[in-house]
């Protein structure tokens, strides 16, 4: 027995139509069906934050959603953050400049989380940044660089605005 549905999901501006099992998680849909492997899967029960994506502009853990629930919605993954193939988003550039990534596993979730956060709070304190990424685990424990990158990115984004 397999319960299947045809869904249409827009990811990073491109619309994908697929027939999927209804129990397929959104994270697995993004990685295995659409083959965008930038979204990482860590704990698969909503603790590590690595699979965070933006659903209609709001962060969500893609392991805690079913692919069918994304039908008709717009998703942004880490692949959709940069403005072009040769240019980094100011937040990505700040990560590079501030050593905000070591092994890179948590990075997609950190970036998507911080993009939403900096939109809500363009001039955050260090404490607010730490709270914002409290749902994202970095096994390298590289939080210092990540926090510095977020604060630097806030300045860059304000300068650009």
């Amino acid at each position: 027995m397999s319960d299947r549905r045809t869904i249409s999901v827009t990811i990073n501006g491109e619309t994908y139509e697929r027939e999927v099992e209804t129990r397929l998680t959104l994270a697995d849909f993004i990685r295995h069906e659409v083959l965008l492997t930038g979204t990482h899967v860590g704990c698969e029960h909503g603790v590590c934050g690595a699979c965070t994506i933006l659903l209609d502009g709001r962060t969500a853990r893609s392991c805690l959603m079913l692919a069918v629930q994304a039908n008709g919605h717009e998703i942004t993954t880490v692949e959709g953050i940069a403005p072009s193939a040769t240019e980094l988003h100011p937040l990505q550039q700040a990560f590079q400049d501030n050593h905000g990534l070591q092994c890179g596993f948590c990075t997609p979730g950190m970036l998507t989380t911080l993009i939403e956060f900096l939109g809500d709070n363009p001039d955050p304190t260090e404490q607010e940044v730490r709270e914002a990424i409290s749902g994202n685990l970095c096994r390298c424990t590289g939080y210092q660089g990540i926090v510095a990158a977020a604060l630097d990115a806030a300045k860059r984004l304000q300068g650009a605005a």
Binding site: T25, D28, L55, C63, M65, V68
Partner: protein
């Protein structure tokens, strides 16, 4: 694939959802999914049918209705966090919601989902208990109200039937200028608290406590009103000595024990957090005075 096989339903109305609930023997309702999805991924729950509530119109929203705020069951925790109405009229809930998970989970997690899951230290059920909320549940052919005092039946067990679902939570308001405080202790920010304390105080112009509500989360099998503390506060003028002495009654609560903390530690936290919350709430009350308690 992590979740077990099930048949997925996405009803567009409450009537359709409760009709499915009545018809299916082993069904689960999917609200925000921040607890049920992990349980499905672990295969702790094995439903034959999954009824997704996310496409039902009119099940989310916050509205003022007389002396209460009414929340639709599918109101997201984020919408509570960013609601001006909640910040102004339910400051206890505003203070508590910032401790609920993380921004990613608050974007999805719902009030009704949290009430139905009923974790003993979940913030929204604790606030609901403190405010004497009324939960409206619906099944095929009828709806009924359940007072918060009668809502928990046991550990993670709300008192509504398997064919009923939470549609609204009505939260009565306290007068303008009341004192409030929500304090919790968790090992990491965003975790379920080991213990929390929620206090509401109505202080009259003479500094006397006209009405008190004291609730602890994470101590019993469900959030508990500490009536012994409430009784000792009513009619009294707030003071550091009174709050310190009365909060000690929390050590007499029959506390649960699990891998995270022994019973005595939860009782200790309940006393300390309640002492602090009483001081903070009294300080915040329009007719109160500053009392700082460690």
């Amino acid at each position: 694939m992590k979740p077990p096989p099930f048949t997925y339903h996405d009803p567009r109305s409450i009537d359709d959802a409760v009709a499915l609930l009545a018809e299916k023997d082993n069904a689960k309702l999917l609200a925000g999914g921040q607890s049920l999805m992990p349980m499905l991924n672990f295969r702790f729950v094995l439903p034959d049918d999954l009824i997704d509530l996310n496409l039902i119109d009119g099940l989310a929203g916050i509205r003022e209705d007389g002396d209460a705020l009414v929340f639709g069951g599918m109101t997201r925790q984020r919408d509570i966090e960013y609601s001006d109405l909640v910040a102004k009229r339910l400051p206890l809930m505003k203070e508590a919601i910032l401790n609920v998970g993380h921004r990613q989970t608050r974007n999805r997690g719902t009030y009704g989902g949290s009430m139905s899951h009923l974790d003993p230290s979940a913030e929204l059920p604790t606030v609901s208990m403190a405010q004497d909320a009324i939960v409206t549940v619906q099944k095929k052919g009828g709806k009924r109200d359940i007072a918060m005092a009668d809502f928990p039946m046991g550990y993670m067990m709300p008192s509504f039937e398997l064919d009923e679902m939470v549609t609204d939570i009505r939260v009565p308001l306290w007068p303008e200028g009341h004192g409030y405080a929500f304090i919790e202790f968790a090992r990491r920010h965003g975790d379920f608290a080991i213990t929390s304390s929620a206090v509401l105080l109505d202080v009259d112009s003479g500094g006397k406590i006209a009405r008190a509500s004291v609730t602890v989360g994470g101590v019993g099998a469900a959030p508990l009103r500490v009536t012994a503390v409430e009784a000792g506060l009513t009619g009294e003028t707030g003071s550091a000595e009174l709050f310190t002495e009365i909060a000690e009654k929390c050590r007499e609560i029959d506390a649960m024990e699990d891998v995270y903390a022994p019973a005595w530690y939860r009782q200790h936290l309940a006393a300390v957090l309640t002492r602090r919350a009483l001081g903070k709430a009294y300080s915040r009350a329009a007719n109160g005075t500053e009392i700082n308690l460690k």
